[in-house]
């Protein structure tokens, strides 16, 4: 599926950068997060206690492991896209802007990978 708009395809000029893809990706991840985020808050509400065993059993249940991994990756992606716009809007020095964008990408990737690793590890130890 191409993320280019029909108008952009017809005109054939291409876009200046990747604005449309960014816009569409942010919205698609938003729709996914309405469901995953909603599920996460409901399941946090239903969690009986925050004690170690209870939490580890909750994270280690197969369906929860899959949904928590999905949530970690998609929320990190959505957060990256949002923070990118905030940096582009408020950080004006070109060098600092590039540094902040790269730093944000590194940090978000680290968070996504570490979260999924933690979920898998919990699934294996319980």
């Amino acid at each position: 599926m191409s993320l280019r708009t029909p108008l952009s395809r017809v005109l054939g000029h291409g876009s200046a950068k990747e604005g449309t893809a960014h816009f569409v990706s942010q919205r698609i991840s938003a729709i996914a997060l309405v469901l995953l985020g909603g599920w996460f808050l409901v399941s946090m509400y239903l969690l009986e206690s925050t004690a170690y065993l209870e939490v580890v059993r909750y994270i280690g249940r197969p369906l929860n492991s899959v949904l928590l991994s999905l949530l970690s990756v998609i929320v990190a992606y959505h957060s990256y896209l949002g923070v990118q716009v905030v940096i582009e809007d408020y950080v004006h020095a070109p060098g600092l802007k590039l540094l902040a964008l790269i730093g944000s990408r590194f940090a978000h990737t680290l968070i996504a990978v570490a979260s999924v690793y933690a979920v898998i590890r919990i699934g294996l130890i319980i």
């Binding site: 170690y52 949002g82 968070i111």
Partner: protein, 105 residues
């Protein structure tokens, strides 16, 4: 209106909250002693206050995000509709946050 900048502020706040979400998973994976540090920190009044703030930020960002998605497909642009949906989002966020924590604590 004000909700526009609040959407950004809650978004950035939730990005910071994402670090705590990851820390929760990582500390749980690291074993009972490590997890206990996390649990004690988040049970401190400051920890609870942060969790309440993040819950509110979540509901506001969720509600206003849905409002944006509805705009994206072309509905709700009339000034009266946009004002009404802003109030609905704000009131829903306050009510849901209160409901979550009153029933939880």
């Amino acid at each position: 209106m004000t909700l526009s900048i609040l959407h950004r502020i809650t978004g950035v706040g939730l990005s910071v909250g994402l670090i705590v979400f990851a820390a929760w998973l990582i500390q749980a994976a690291a074993g009972p002693e490590q997890y206990q540090y996390f649990r004690v920190a988040m049970s401190h009044p400051i920890g609870i206050a942060l969790l309440i703030a993040w819950t509110f930020a979540f509901f506001l960002h969720l509600g206003n995000g849905i409002r944006h998605l509805v705009w994206d497909v072309g509905y709700g642009f009339e000034k009266s509709q946009a004002n009404a949906s802003a109030y609905i989002v704000l009131v829903m966020a306050i009510v849901l946050t209160a409901l979550f924590w009153v029933l939880k604590l």
